[in-house]
């Protein structure tokens, strides 16, 4: 019975989803929904942080609670909380739908928490599906525009296809080993990864996670979905959802024990392809959200470098990269939400004169963009250093050079955004960017986090290393 204590954060989130479910039934009161979401997500975040030390195996060994999963839950929950912080101006979503919006957000968070702890292929599959289905609907929630139908549908079809392929892969793996418990697979997979059946099953089963992380051949939904979704949902996809995808991908790759050469080559291919494709496509984007979507694709490629290195530093690097992406992407979306008028999409030019309309926000944006471009001393640089160091330990000098040239390409479009914010003067009277005091504090905290992650990353690196230590054989 004591085991249930380990499950408390998840139960709490389920209860929070229940609260919003009841709100859905009544009359629409956006103010109440927002306040409830703030309180519930903040309390949930505190609860998750408190449960960070939990450890154990529950539900007959299919659900593993350890430092790795708990820290990821904290990250996912922080993503949820941060996104809720942006919801004060939720004008992208119809007012009658606000409680449903929060309900789905809650469910999605819950599913991702389950994902971080899943150590059985079925739990994994089910939680991945729950989170994806919530997102399919969330993308569709955008107010008004009829443009949202196609991307949302496209997102759904692609997601369904990816998960079908993944399920097929799971079936093959199960067929080969007669077990779907990761703990058991972990002992058997490394020795047999070169068998065609196991190899095929394994690579196919990665497709679902590739879809979630928007890695190259599975990324086509991302720009359209980002563009069509309400800003907050795009922010959620770019932060919490990516972190969850990294969590589970690291767990899956750790299954192979880093022994599979051929698996590594598959991963190297998707890594190079997605950073190159993402960066080149981002060069010509006008809409900021599309630009951020393609930059996410590119970053998925960099994360893959850490994952495919399959050593302690690589896993720790991937985890750290997840954290850094969350912070930097969140800041970008905060700017998008604040600078856009009535939840409409904005071009890069809309940021003109941001440096005197909202100096704190502009500074945060500067650091976030430099961080995304991997420039020291920001958190993004530390993340890149870790994954590159891991790849170098595997002797992949050329891969690191390719990645660095991709970074230079990406710098071009980040600088264009920066130029808009700092150099271009806005024509006429620009809309004021009103930043409430709490949001200012939030921006300040993000600035601190980005700089601290670049200057004093020691503590965070140690945490990431001890988290992933259990994954190694």
């Amino acid at each position: 019975m004591t085991d249930w204590i380990l499950f408390i954060p998840e139960l709490y989130t389920l209860a929070a989803a229940g609260v919003f479910f009841f709100f859905c039934l009544g009359r629409a009161r956006p103010g109440r929904d927002y306040a409830a979401a703030m309180v519930l997500s903040a309390a949930g975040l505190v609860l998750t942080v408190c449960s960070a030390g939990f450890e154990g195996l529950i539900f007959e060994g299919v659900y593993r609670v350890d430092l790795y999963s708990q820290v990821f839950k904290v990250l996912i929950y922080s993503g949820f909380f941060l996104v809720v912080c942006l919801c004060a101006d939720l004008s992208g979503v119809d007012e009658t739908r606000h409680s449903e919006f929060y309900l789905l957000l809650c469910l999605c968070t819950l599913a991702m928490m389950l994902l971080a702890s899943s150590v059985h292929l079925l739990t994994l599959y089910i939680s991945l599906e729950i989170s994806s289905y919530s997102l399919y609907v969330l993308v569709y929630l955008r107010r008004g525009s009829s443009q949202r139908v196609k991307p949302a549908f496209q997102y759904f079809v692609m997601g369904a296809a990816a998960s079908a392929v993944m399920l097929f892969g799971f079936a093959l793996v199960y067929g080969a080993f007669g077990s779907a418990h990761m703990a058991e697979l972990m002992h058997q997979v490394p020795a047999r990864i070169h068998e065609p059946l196991v190899f095929t099953g394994f690579v196919l089963s990665l497709s679902g996670f590739f879809f979630k992380l928007a890695v190259f051949p599975f990324h086509f939904w991302a720009p359209d979905a980002y563009e069509a979704a309400p800003h907050q949902v795009s922010a959620y996809i770019a932060t919490a959802s990516k972190v969850a995808a990294i969590a589970i991908l690291v767990r899956m790759i750790a299954l192979t024990g880093g022994q599979g050469d051929r698996v590594a080559w598959v991963l190297i291919f998707v890594s190079v392809a997605s950073m190159t494709a993402g960066n080149l496509a981002a060069l010509i984007q006008k809409d900021i959200k599309r630009l951020l979507a393609f930059s996410s694709v590119a970053h998925a490629g960099y994360v893959m470098i850490g994952i495919l290195s399959a050593n302690a530093m690589g896993y720790a690097g991937a985890v750290f990269y997840g954290l850094s992406l969350m912070v930097m992407k969140f800041v970008c979306f905060m700017v998008v939400v604040k600078a856009s008028d009535g939840g409409r999409n904005i071009d890069t030019e809309a940021l003109a004169g941001l440096h005197h309309r909202a100096p704190v926000l502009a500074l945060a944006l500067l650091l976030a963009l430099f961080g995304l471009a991997g420039i020291p001393p920001t958190i993004g640089f530390t993340a890149k250093l870790l994954v590159f160091r891991a790849a170098m330990d595997q002797g992949l000098l050329w891969l690191v050079i390719v990645a660095m040239f991709n970074v230079v390409i990406s710098l071009y479009y980040y600088l264009l955004v920066l130029k808009a914010a700092y150099y271009t003067e806005s024509e006429g009277r620009p809309r004021e960017v009103a930043l409430s005091v709490p949001l200012k504090c939030l921006a300040g905290a993000m600035i601190f986090l980005m700089v601290a992650g670049g200057l004093w990353p020691g503590y965070m690196i140690v945490l990431a290393e001890s988290m992933t230590a259990g994954l190694l054989p």
Binding site: M392, Y422, G458
Partner: protein, 515 residues
């Protein structure tokens, strides 16, 4: 490498002064332009004073790394905050101090977004200082990037002609350089098998194979070489210099290009001597192409800043040639040239900036006879031009002399070509001086006033430094010698074509002229 721990963390104090200056500038209210300028000036003067102190206090008898300070930073990755200066770094600190101070004073008349300008400018200098004193690969890279990034905003906001293009080109080129440096750094740290990024530790304990050294050296050579203006990676430099505002051009051509050369020296040549030896013929050829190319393209330019920009390419070629000789003289000359060229270019850009502020043109054809109305401004311009030519009695003469003495021994043919080209350059520069400062005065400029005394200070400081080290080159030479002799000797007898004897006797004779 001998390490002498510091009694007092002077090096960090310099960084701290810059950081405090930066913080102060940031917290000052928006419209307090004068306060911002005074804070920046005070900060730069303090940094200069400390740099001069370190230059003088460096114990030339003891040599090695001095004023070493150390702090564990990220122990799990073997990264430490490790600073120290040797005979190569001390002149560079002095150079940075001088250019920082004079740059701040040169921008005294700025009145557009003053606070942001000086904040970015100090940040840039902070990176430069850090880079010259850092001995940990991680920090070298961090400082390197810190010194590059403010550049984009500095050029795009306060720049002049074609600034958006120039700024973007410059930033992308230099970051492409760092795209090679970072893999190189991580590569060295990974193949060494030691959990450390510290240069002295790697130097002592790591043994890199020939292949590793060649690979890494090439990465560093191209990566830092882009910043050092090595042909064919130089093309960002003239456009960038032209687009940048005066102080930024000064700092950029004067100090930032030296960061590139210094990076090759500190990481490439110290850690990968076999790679240095292997690639030195390539370095020599590229350097001479740079010298010839810079001069030849410079001949066709009509914009004063382009003239200086291309002459920088050829002067940095001399630095590269000095490194490529792998001799004590060559390295001495190269480092001396880094210093001399830094001061000289800063003076050049400063003088041209002043002329441009008054006349709003940099076309040589439109200027003329300026010495009649602006005698002080013109004389600084002429001193810079003479230093650029390498007239005896000015600092760059000694630098070029040392490099060419070494080059004649090692690469005679290449040395002949470059000396010949430099003579052409001398003729051309003299013509530029004549067309700008002498000849008939255009009535358009007749009303111009000469430089105010205060505005003359930075130029006077720079000109004084050129003349001072031109008359007393041994002050600089002795210092560089303490680092270059151990470096070349550590290469073993197979390399190191010649010792310092010949030049030393030459200098001793010259010094005997002094009482």
């Amino acid at each position: 490498m001998q390490m002498h721990a510091a009694q007092f963390p002077f090096l960090s104090t310099i960084l701290l002064i810059c950081a405090c200056g930066l913080a102060l500038v940031l917290v000052l209210p928006k419209n307090s332009n004068a306060a911002v300028k005074w804070v920046s000036a005070a900060c730069s003067a303090a940094a200069l004073a400390l740099s001069v102190f370190l230059f003088v206090a460096y114990d030339r008898g003891a040599g090695g790394m001095q004023f070493v300070e150390r702090l564990d930073w990220i122990p799990s990755m073997g990264i430490s905050y490790l600073n120290g200066i040797d005979g190569f770094a001390a002149p560079m600190l002095l150079l940075t101090g001088i250019v920082f101070f004079t740059g701040v004073v040169s921008m005294w008349e700025l009145d557009y977004r003053v606070k942001e300008f000086f904040a970015l400018f100090i940040l840039l200098v902070l990176g430069v200082y850090g880079m010259f004193m850092a001995l940990d690969l991680f920090f070298i890279f961090v400082w390197f990037d810190v010194s590059l990034l403010p550049m984009y905003l500095l050029i795009v906001i306060w720049g002049s002609s074609d600034r958006e293009y120039g700024a973007m080109k410059l930033t992308l080129y230099l970051l492409a350089g760092s795209a090679l440096i970072l893999p190189g750094i991580i590569y060295l740290a990974a193949v060494s098998g030691l959990e450390t990024f510290s240069v002295p530790a790697l130097l002592e304990n790591a043994s890199f194979s020939g292949f590793e050294q060649k690979t890494a050296f090439l990465l560093f050579y191209i990566g830092f070489g882009i910043l050092a203006g090595v042909w064919p990676f130089h093309s960002w430099s003239p456009t960038g210099h032209v687009a940048a505002p005066t102080a930024v051009s000064m700092l950029h051509a004067g100090v930032l290009m030296k960061i590139g050369a210094f990076g090759i020296l500190r990481i490439g040549m110290f850690l990968c001597p076999a790679g240095w030896m292997y690639w030195s013929p390539l370095m020599a050829v590229l350097a001479v192409i740079g010298i010839v190319y810079g001069v030849m393209v410079g001949l066709r330019q009509t914009d004063l800043k382009f003239v200086i920009g291309y002459s920088s390419v050829s002067h940095m070629g001399i630095v590269g040639l000095g490194f490529a000789t792998m001799t004590v003289d060559g390295v001495n000359g190269a480092v001396f040239q880094m210093f001399a060229h830094g001061i000289m270019t800063a003076l050049f850009f400063s003088a041209v900036g002043h002329i441009y502020d008054r006349t709003h043109t940099r076309e040589i054809g439109e200027l003329g006879g300026l010495s009649a109305v602006m005698p002080a401004a013109s004389s600084y311009f002429i001193i810079a031009a003479l230093a650029g030519i390498g007239v005896p009695g000015l600092a760059s003469f000694w630098a070029e002399l040392l490099v060419f003495i070494a080059a004649f021994r090692v690469y005679p043919a290449l040395a002949v070509i470059s000396v010949g080209v430099l003579v052409v350059n001398a003729l051309f520069m003299l013509r530029v001086v004549r067309n700008t400062c002498f000849g008939p005065l255009s009535p358009r400029w007749a009303h111009l006033k000469d430089m105010r005394f205060a505005m003359g200070i930075p130029r006077a400081v720079l000109a004084a430094a050129i003349v001072f080290f031109g008359l007393m080159p041994f002050l600089m030479y002795d210092l560089i010698q303490t680092a270059s002799v151990p470096l070349i000797h550590s290469l073993g007898p197979a390399i190191g074509h010649a010792g310092p004897e010949i030049v030393e006797t030459l200098l001793t004779k010259l010094m005997s002229v002094w009482p």
